[in-house]
């Protein structure tokens, strides 16, 4: 099979939530001599972009995105040895996701975690009602790796503790080892600048784009 065909096959498997298909096509791509870097850039990344676009126009929903995320992770598993050899690290990186204050409205958080997963991030989901101590602890555990913090705030009060998160990161000397993005209904770009975070997004698809931008820097 020509390389382009394999690439298309992998991309389609990802977009069509084929969790076994991505494994098979990734193996074929490696066997055909492609690098992990090429496979990610030519098949997986564009595939993920399609998923994000489809979600934004309400063509697919959470069940499909979660399955594509799984298909993506399966492909990454196969690529891991090659990635190590090529020294391209942890895919997009590790994303630590959390909601600052407990609430039943964790839909945004759920979608962001899933979209980041579908974009090659290894997700560490800390869940809802997460304290700054827990966040700091998790960042420490992953020091030296490419880490993104993605926090949601549903209310104005939990938005206030985003500021505390940044302060705590600075105090622990960890601010430079993570990229920090915050989202949620009350969060504005102005607020992000004010507290010294790195980015925000209006929705889960945008969150994935911003996250990739931030971690590529």
């Amino acid at each position: 099979m020509a390389n382009q065909e394999i690439i298309d096959k992998l991309k389609n498997a990802l977009v069509n939530q084929d969790i076994n298909g991505t494994v098979e096509a990734t193996k074929e791509a490696l066997a055909a001599g492609m690098t992990a870097n090429d496979i990610i850039n030519n098949a997986l990344a564009p595939g993920m972009k399609i998923i994000g676009d489809k979600f934004e126009v309400a063509e697919i929903y959470l069940p499909q995105i979660m399955m594509s995320a799984k298909a993506m992770n399966n492909a990454m598993e196969v690529l891991r040895p090659a990635m190590e050899k090529e020294k391209i690290g942890e895919g997009s990186g590790i994303a630590i996701t959390f909601v600052q204050e407990g609430d039943i409205h964790d839909i945004g958080h759920r979608l962001v975690s899933t979209m980041l997963g579908a974009n090659g991030f290894k997700i560490i989901d800390l869940g809802v009602d997460v304290s700054n101590e827990t966040i700091i602890e998790e960042v420490k555990k992953n020091k030296g790796k490419k880490v993104l913090l993605a926090g949601s705030a549903l209310m104005t009060t939990s938005m206030m503790s985003q500021k505390d998160t940044i302060v705590a990161l600075k105090e622990e000397g960890l601010r430079d080892s993570v990229k920090v993005m915050f989202g949620g209904a009350p969060v504005t770009k102005q607020w992000i600048t004010e507290i010294g975070a790195d980015g925000t997004a209006e929705n889960a698809a945008e969150a994935a784009r911003v996250a990739l931008d931030l971690t590529r820097k």
Binding site: Y61, Q64, M66, G102, I107, M155
Partner: protein, 339 residues
């Protein structure tokens, strides 16, 4: 014009029949710290003890002025009943579900044969009895429970969203199981005196799962619950969080009397989207009821009333720290409103 009791008024309003004025009720969680202080019944004890639960529910009527009493204050008693790990609540925070108990079909079988008279769901039923004995002739007695789709998510965890996609047989088996439970639980609440049933199904959102999955995994199950309640003469209200605008037409297919929408929905648009269901909503519990002044509450209430809302109410559960004066401002605006 005839003056109705609050009970008659709400029953009529939910059926779209003419009433003397708008009923002042909250279909979502009513407990606040100020009401806890006034009644001496505090979270988390008021979630566990029937007397305290009833006392705090009563405060919604005696302190705030709501023309109904409503229990419980959270949506985790059902998952707790089936053994899910629960993160305990505090005075200001409701408990939340953190562990799940169903992975596969065999796990469902293990959980069947339960005794509905046990656990915190039975406390809720006892509280309803206490409230019905005291207020049942005069006030609507509202029971609320988590809906079958969100209960399935509590039991199965986030895999639930994938399982409805990849394993239809399991999906159907689990939602059947949760629906059977919902019906048995709702019937018991009705037996104990509940005349209005609020189904809170936050994750059953068409915005989240799309219309196709909603039609398959939500509509038929809501319909079964609604029909069971109709047989008992109990009114039904469905609350789903988030921007449900595009899902409203599907939400009413189950035959529910009324749909409670949150603040991300435009009330006028919502009313256009439905055929028959009464739209309830939708003051923002955080950015209006909790964090603003009575003056702003009155202004925002007026906006929603001017948009023609059939029943003005909070858009979702009231935040525990909400000042009573803000809730009273909303109640006053409702009571002054004539259709």
């Amino acid at each position: 014009m005839v003056e109705y009791t609050p009970k008659e008024r709400l029953a009529r309003a939910l059926k779209g029949q003419p009433v003397d004025r708008m009923p002042a009720v909250s279909f979502t969680q009513t407990g606040t710290v100020e009401q806890m202080e006034a009644s001496g019944a505090f979270w988390p004890e008021a979630n566990e003890d029937a007397q305290k639960m009833a006392a705090l529910a009563e405060a919604g009527h005696t302190v705030v002025g709501f023309e109904a009493v409503r229990v419980p204050f959270d949506i985790t008693a059902e998952a707790e009943f089936f053994g899910c790990k629960i993160k305990a609540g505090t005075r200001e925070q409701q408990p939340s579900v953190v562990g799940h108990v169903i992975k596969e079909t065999a796990d469902i079988e293990k959980l069947s044969g339960y005794d509905i008279n046990k656990g915190r769901i039975s406390v809720v039923c006892d509280a309803i009895k206490i409230l019905a004995d005291k207020y049942g002739k005069e006030l609507p007695i509202m029971g609320s429970m988590i809906g079958p789709f969100s209960l399935a998510q509590h039991l199965n965890g986030d895999d639930w969203f994938m399982n409805i996609f990849t394993d239809e047989a399991f999906g159907q088996a689990l939602i059947d199981f949760t629906t059977d439970f919902n019906i048995a639980y709702a019937k018991k609440m009705a037996e104990n005196g509940a005349d209005t049933m609020v189904i809170i199904d936050p994750t059953a959102s068409a915005q989240l799962i799309g219309a196709q999955f909603y039609e398959k995994f939500v509509v038929p199950y809501h319909r079964r619950i609604v029909n069971a309640m109709k047989e008992l003469g109990v009114a039904t209200v469905l609350h789903i969080c988030g921007d449900t605008t595009q899902g409203l037409a599907l939400m009413e297919v189950c035959g529910v009397d009324a749909i409670s929408v949150d603040q991300s929905v435009n009330v006028a648009t919502a009313m256009d989207k439905v055929d028959r269901a009464i739209i309830i909503g939708n003051l923002d519990p955080v950015n209006v009821l909790w964090n603003k002044t009575p003056e702003v509450v009155r202004q925002k209430s007026k906006e929603v009333l001017d948009a023609g809302v059939p029943i003005l109410a909070p858009g979702c559960g009231i935040v525990s720290k909400t000042p009573t004066e803000n809730l009273r401002a909303m109640v006053e605006m409702i009571k002054e409103h004539r259709y």
